[in-house]
């Protein structure tokens, strides 16, 4: 244990906790209405939205996992760069349209949209369940990010008290999210990202100099990776090209299908705010790019972390004075709290809107709906905590998240194509979703939970990201079955959205 590190860490954590509780009073609104609690009243301007969405996309786990993956696998892990760049042109196109429709029709979730557009309760339920399933492991991974840092700080005791720090952190998080809703993480996000940017910029300047320059970092990484039992390198091998491409494209298409990310988008006050954000959000991608190279720096520094997730905390601990290590640790932990809060809000919205109000209590009042979402957000966080503390095995959460990435991508045809066309039949989309879910589950389950699956087609073998295989299967089924359902005259349902609902006000 290092007291300067812990003192800096605790001071920053205390600051953020106070801010979280003040969130309820910020940009005051009636928190007994769901859109106020869950979307901050749809009033965030460009700067707040940038911190909020950025804080949401680039989670603590991202900052721990990507350098860890680079440490473990070399060049292939850098698919994270194209992934986090090409996500934004797509968002620029569809997100303002979805925001406009959501505002005009009062949607809080994607499943609200599926319900009205396709007149289909089952499709809406499929979207809601997929969203909740995909969010749970993501929250769990934020907890794992916190655990890794607490361990590096020396909090990893043994006996009944070992989980106390993480439980305290989570109780505080749960309390201010319950009170303030999305306003709490929005306010905390400012501190979170200031800390993260400072940590990464300082480390990116100091570390290469300490390690003999960038050239040495890369050449040391190349020799070490090539000498591993499973050799890799700092360039792709030709067989990795299709894996790199499908990982990047599949992840880019999936990222804004996650409920928490669309929650951030819907909290913006106008389509212009969203567009400006897609221009500014790649700054976070650059940050992630720099951070990814920390995996190579850890190799160059000769570190041997017990698990790849410990790469960044160990690098900071080994190369910096204790107070800065405490600073960086606080950045990661607070970086986990912001997305965890937004994720639990988003999953709670899905449960409340599309399961509770749809199936359990259709006549519930607006106030009841908001209260229910608050309670659901507590239950969801508690579930993630029990999952992480109960299983004690980080592998489960990571495998589960691999599945989640494949699952969430299966809502893409319904949601994104659905924003532009009603060509697809609702039953065909549901069938496509089901097949996609099955493929996205079967492939990882049978290849040892590896993100890339080798599928033999005739004489050639496709090495693709599992989620991408699943999406292709989904699209084929949805496309082929649409004319079939039409031919046998299965009802298409009435589209409740009007063309005018999609148009932005001048």
């Amino acid at each position: 244990m290092s007291w300067p590190a812990i003192a800096v860490f605790l001071a920053l954590f205390a600051l953020v906790s106070v801010l979280g509780f003040l969130g309820a009073y910020w940009k005051r609104g009636n928190l007994e209405l769901l859109h106020e609690w869950a979307l901050g009243g749809r009033q965030f301007g460009s700067l707040i939205a940038w911190f909020l969405i950025g804080g949401d996309l680039y989670t603590a786990y991202t900052f721990v996992a990507v350098p860890g993956l680079v440490y473990g696998t070399g060049a292939l892990a850098f698919y994270a760069l194209p992934y986090t760049a090409i996500a934004f042109p797509l968002v620029f196109v569809f997100a303002p349209r979805f925001w406009t429709l959501a505002r005009n029709r009062g949607y809080i979730t994607y499943a609200d949209f599926a319900r009205e557009r396709y007149d289909s309760r089952s499709l809406s339920l499929a979207v809601a369940i997929t969203g909740i399933l995909a969010t749970m492991p993501y929250i769990a991974l934020q907890l794992i990010g916190i655990q890794v840092v607490l361990k590096a700080l020396g909090f990893a005791g043994s006996g009944p008290w070992q989980d106390l720090p993480i439980i305290i952190a989570f109780v505080i998080l749960a309390a201010y999210t319950y009170r303030g809703g999305l306003r709490a993480p929005a306010l905390v996000a400012f501190v979170k990202d200031t800390l993260i940017y400072l940590t990464v910029i300082v480390a990116a300047i100091v570390l290469p100099a300490k390690l003999g320059g960038w050239g040495h970092v890369f050449s040391a990484a190349q020799s070490a990776l090539a000498a591993r039992p499973t050799p890799s390198g700092i360039l792709l091998t030709p067989v990795q090209y299709s894996a790199f491409i499908t990982l990047a494209l599949g992840s880019a298409l999936a990222i804004f299908m996650y409920p928490h990310n669309i929650t951030g988008v819907l909290s913006a006050k106008s389509p212009a705010v969203i567009r400006r954000n897609t221009i500014a959000l790649p700054i976070y991608s650059l940050l992630l790019a720099v951070l990814a190279t920390f995996g190579y720096m850890a190799i160059a520094a000769g570190l041997k972390p017990a698990s790849s997730n410990e790469t960044v905390p160990q690098l900071l601990a080994a190369m910096f004075p204790p107070w800065f290590f405490g600073f960086g640790s606080a950045a990661i932990v607070i970086g986990a709290l912001v997305p965890a809060a937004i994720m639990s809000i988003a999953a709670a919205n899905l449960f409340t809107r599309n399961i509770y109000r749809e199936y359990i209590n259709p006549s519930c009042s607006a106030q009841r709906e908001s209260t229910n979402a608050k309670l659901a957000s507590l239950v969801i966080k508690l579930g993630a905590l029990v999952f992480v503390l109960g299983l004690r095995n980080i592998e489960y959460a990571i495998n589960f998240q691999l599945l989640a990435g494949g699952w969430i991508l299966q809502t893409f045809p319904t949601l994104i194509f659905g924003l532009y066309t009603r060509w697809f039949h609702r039953r065909a989309l549901l069938a496509g979703w089901l097949v996609g879910m099955a493929v996205a589950t079967y492939m990882p389950a049978t290849n040892g939970f590896h993100p890339v699956y080798a599928l033999a087609l005739g004489s050639s073998v496709l090495h693709w990201y599992v989620a991408f295989f699943a999406l292709v299967a989904n699209l084929i089924v949805a496309t082929l079955l649409t004319p079939v359902f039409d031919a046998i005259k299965v009802a298409r349902g009435a589209d409740k959205t009007q063309p005018a609902d999609y148009l932005e006000a001048a």
């Binding site: 060049a75 090409i86 960038w214 030709p238 790649p282």
Partner: protein, 69 residues
Amino acid sequence: MRRRGTRRSGWYWLLLVPYVVMLWAPSFNSMTPALGGIPFFYWYQFVWIALTAVIIWIVYRLAHGGDGA
């Protein structure tokens, strides 16, 4: 009400450029030319993250007139 679409949205095709460039991995899978010790594979992708933002900005200005910003 203003219809987005029509003539000005033709600029949206520019948004495909980052997809082609950044997903065409064989075109940049090279050590050289290095920049300050950083292999081409890496700095080229860093630069294209920034250029993606620039392309979105150009489309934003041209197709939306900056939304009155």
